[in-house]
């Protein structure tokens, strides 16, 4: 839907207008019936009996659908797994008032573990523990996998063949993101060369940070293009 002006359909073409309208409504039905985001492929499959539905036509239908819901309480959004209708954030309070049961707080331990996997993936448990400085409980790894935010994507070829964890498409969908690099960027850390020069024989006075160049920070191995393969076999 990011392609704002896909005018693939010739205006005034009656037959195509009818088809477009039919596709729009079929897509609407499918999206509301689905519990999860629906990939474009499935949307096209849903329209198979309506006629020749190519990507351009589907895009136009999606765009019209999106426009139809302008000003309504819900919106058509796209995330990693595909398209879905979602309540606009403005109305979250009303929904919460109607179903106020659960706060769903996540523990810091779980969030830190998740963050390390998200930015470092694929990562082993030992790598996560090295960053956090404490053992990662089995409960946390299990919860992350049960939520389908994290899964095992392979095993590292070192003794013991530890599992390699990566985030899932579901993780992105639950945050409304399309790609990993839409996550907030990691805070940059200062280069160790600066650290070394700052750290003198005597305890350096506070305020020594002015001398550090922010631009020289070490880049973490967060591969924005390599993420696709961790989306799972049903990608």
């Amino acid at each position: 839907m990011n392609d704002g002006d896909s005018r693939a359909v010739a205006p005034g073409d009656g037959a195509t207008d009818d088809l477009l309208r039919a596709v729009e409504l079929a897509v609407e039905a499918v999206l509301f019936a689905a519990a999860e985001p629906v990939p474009a492929r499935d949307l096209k499959a849903a329209c198979a009996d309506l006629g020749e539905v190519d990507q351009a036509l589907l895009d136009t239908a999606l765009q019209r659908l999106q426009e139809h819901y302008t000003g309504r309480a819900i919106e058509l959004v796209r995330s990693a797994g595909g398209y879905r209708f979602r309540v606009r954030p403005h109305y979250s309070g009303n929904v919460q008032a109607a179903q106020p049961e659960r706060p769903q707080r996540l523990s810091r331990a779980l969030l830190e573990t998740l963050a390390i996997i998200a930015y470092r993936q694929p990562a082993t448990r030992a790598e996560i523990e090295a960053v956090r400085g404490v053992a990662v409980s089995s409960g946390i790894m299990r919860t992350l996998q049960e939520r389908e935010w994290v899964r095992v994507v392979g095993h590292k070829e070192v003794p013991g063949r530890p599992a390699l964890y990566a985030t899932t498409r579901r993780f992105l969908d639950d945050l409304g993101l399309s790609r990993l690099e839409e996550l907030p960027p990691l805070e940059q850390i200062r280069d160790l060369a600066d650290v070394a020069s700052d750290a003198g024989l005597t305890l350096a006075p506070p305020g020594a940070e002015e001398s550090a160049e922010p631009g020289t920070s070490r880049r973490l191995d967060f591969d924005p293009d390599g993420d696709q393969e961790y989306f799972g076999p049903n990608a």
Binding site: A33, A35, I74, P89, A109, L175, E187, I189, A196, P206
Partner: protein, 287 residues
């Protein structure tokens, strides 16, 4: 700083608050905790909760550094070590379960501190070889980076907490519905749940209780919020003597759970029952 002056002093054993240079106002070793280090600034009741809120030694160190507005890069290792040991001792004195990682860090800090007291070797090949703080600094930086990332992650709007999927019923649709589960499938699913978690608290739900639970559901369904139902009638709705017992237990359970309320128009008149609350205006007052 008090501890720095005497490097032979076992730092892990003694904690000193250097309110006045060199003056030891607080000791843990061999003595009951009469007084907490004054730089902890935490009421004793809250201390346990507070200490538990640390995610590990790096988190605790980071807290100590940040509390003094210090930069990670310029850790005054002796002072930080002293404070860190203070927390460790308090945790021990309170018999808090202490993860091994905290003790490993204590040893590391003590080692760094002692190495920093040595004169710099002329042949030191790199700064990192020389300054024993660098590895720790790198670890702290990295941990802080992900700690911040975790906070930002948590702040993102999330499905089912801040965002809600919009769906519609598919009840009216025709077509093959998914198959009913088999008993085996269902039991396997339940076994998986029980195997992994919290059901230890619910083992008391034994076989015979299932009939009560079932009856609870049936009675709830039958009751009305506006209208009272006859208590005896509800009891007799079951089959035979056992049915009465099961219904009775079910009603007691419902009453205990606060789901139903009793009523009687006058003494000795029939006992009546209805769903509790649910009056619309009551609801709005609550909201």
């Amino acid at each position: 700083m008090a501890t720095r002056d005497d490097p032979s002093e076992p730092a892990a054993v003694t904690t000193a608050e250097a309110g006045v240079e060199g003056e030891v106002v607080y000791r843990v070793h061999g003595e009951p905790v009469a007084e907490l280090p004054t730089d902890l600034y935490i009421p004793p009741d809250a201390l346990e909760v507070f200490l538990e809120s640390f995610e590990g030694p790096l988190d605790l160190l980071l807290y100590l550094i940040r509390r003094q507005n210090l930069d990670i890069l310029t850790i005054p290792i002796a002072e930080i070590t002293r404070q860190y040991m203070g927390y460790i001792e308090v945790m021990r004195a309170l018999r808090l379960e202490l993860a091994g990682e905290y003790l490993v860090m204590a040893a590391l800090l003590a080692e760094i501190k002692s190495r920093m007291l040595l004169p710099r070797p002329v042949e030191a090949e790199s700064d990192e070889d020389y300054d024993p703080r660098l590895a720790l600094i790198r670890q702290l930086q990295e941990y802080e980076q992900f700690k911040t990332a975790a906070e930002r992650l948590d702040a993102l709007p999330r499905m089912d907490r801040d965002l809600f999927a919009a769906g519609a019923s598919v009840e009216a649709l025709e077509g093959a519905p998914p198959p009913a589960p088999s008993l085996d499938e269902l039991m396997e699913a339940l076994a998986a749940v029980m195997h992994r978690a919290t059901l230890s608290a619910h083992h008391h739900i034994a076989t015979e209780q299932l009939s009560v639970r079932e009856r609870m559901s049936l009675i709830l369904d039958e009751l009305d919020a506006e209208r009272f139902s006859d208590f005896v009638g509800l009891l007799l709705a079951g089959e035979g003597r056992q049915g009465v017992v099961v219904s009775f237990l079910a009603i007691l359970e419902l009453a205990k759970a606060g789901l139903v309320e009793w009523g009687q128009s006058e003494p000795y008149s029939p006992i009546r029952l209805r769903l509790r609350g649910a009056a619309p205006d009551v609801r709005e007052d609550e909201a």
